[in-house]
Symmetry: C2
Subunit: 267 residues, 2 copies
């Protein structure tokens, strides 16, 4: 049996009891650590599980899948993924290889940023398509994520934006990942401006998680600390959502808002 086990978001104790039992019972346990990293890393997990883990880098997962699946007809193998195995990054390819080799598989789910972001107070069913935020270079200026954010906003929906790990490096060095003037130009129709209320989320689920609500301009100068970071661009807000956002709001961030009932809200 191949077990795909989500580790959740915070620390080693975020694994489920079911997941922990599987980890202890499997003959080989792989840790996928190239799409997301857990605080304390491999060593902290090994110490908590009381067993050693094999680090599965991208090459091993993409080219060496038969090594991971070796003998999984007769023995149990676990593949550990930070968050949920079918969260932001899916591991469909490994599942398909297992199925085609006649190896049964089982998924043990856990929280991922895709659902845990609800803790900022925005309702998950009001989110539209998720986007990846990328850093513009001189030669690479992708625009598709702006369009998706604008499209969501036009429908009144919130957008969860992932900052890719390569981008995190830039962010943590204090560089900008978006250019507000560009935002304003493209998105006038969606009223997406520097004053748009956004939520910056860092290290969600861990003890030192950081949630900050502010205008896009305010969040530019917010230091949320170490990765991983995500950015939520809000759509139309429900009064209860505003009340929740207030818990993490910068001064004045929630100044003038258009509510879901069309009224203007002034804090």
């Amino acid at each position: 049996m191949l077990y795909l086990i989500g580790l959740g978001l915070g620390d080693p104790t975020d694994i489920t009891v079911k997941g922990l039992r599987a980890v202890k019972a499997c003959s080989r346990v792989y840790l996928e650590e190239y799409t997301s990293v857990m605080s304390g890393g491999k060593e902290a997990l090994e110490s908590f599980y009381g067993r050693s883990l094999v680090l599965a880098d991208r090459d091993l997962v993409e080219q060496g899948a038969e090594q991971i699946l070796k003998d999984a007809h007769e023995t149990d193998v676990a593949f550990l993924v930070v968050g949920d195995p079918f969260g932001a990054t899916t591991h469909s390819d490994l599942v398909l290889r297992a199925v085609h080799a006649g190896i049964p598989y089982k998924v043990i789910h856990n929280a991922s940023i895709m659902n845990a972001v609800g803790c900022c107070g925005l309702q998950l069913y009001n989110f539209g398509e998720t986007v990846s935020l990328v850093f513009w270079t001189d030669s690479w200026k992708p625009e598709s994520f702006y369009d998706k954010i604008c499209k969501n906003r036009k429908s009144g929906l919130h957008t969860l934006g992932f900052l890719k790990q390569s981008v995190q490096m830039f962010v943590s060095r204090g560089k900008k990942i978006y250019e507000p003037p560009r935002f304003m130009t493209v998105c006038q129709a969606a009223s997406l401006t520097e004053d748009t209320v956004c939520v910056g989320v860092a290290r969600l689920g861990s003890d030192d998680q950081s949630i900050r609500t502010g205008t896009l301009r305010q969040l530019e100068s917010c230091d949320l600390g170490a990765p991983l970071h995500s950015l939520v661009v809000t759509g139309q807000l429900h009064p209860l959502e505003v009340d929740m956002l207030r818990l993490s709001a910068e001064p004045g961030a929630l100044g003038h808002l258009t509510m879901v009932d069309g009224s203007t809200y002034t804090s």
Copy 2:
């Protein structure tokens, strides 16, 4: 401290180690069971935790919050929610009451249907707005969910549809919750027909979970068994998504598909 603890989706062992430790350490533990129910119910959870739980019905949560929060300045109180505390149903109101009473709170996340649905093989970031599917009565025929599904489809996005518990009753008695002709009339522009590929999901995360991929017409006659059920209406499909859907597909379901690259796919 008020702990809001997600129980995950399957059985009592789906709680996280962190969550279980909190449950054991809290002086009072409430179980919210009116929005979703876990297999085995309260008794199975009490037996696994080795302690008794207080059932929190809607009245207690909405009108008796001060009873739940009583003395939570000095003692630890846990509030257990099937799935994630900020998943399909949020508990913002309880959080706000705690904060306004000066009681700190902590969320221990877990999987919810909002992210676990990814295990059917559809990529989570390609989902648009979530909808609630309701049963039409003679006097109540809401249409907004059709429009949202069509809007998502037009953007190539998948739609996760929840069947409300009141609807589950009808479904489990073999009644229809949608009317295909109506679907076709409203949604022609979005090419949403009886041949649209959908995924029926039941009891996700439990040992007897059921995932069936078929056309809307095929799924009408599929018996997915006991609640809870969700229905995913697919948008534009990526080849890897099709390969995953094939694992749960009814014969002929994936006959003619338009792929994300514009090509037509014939299985």
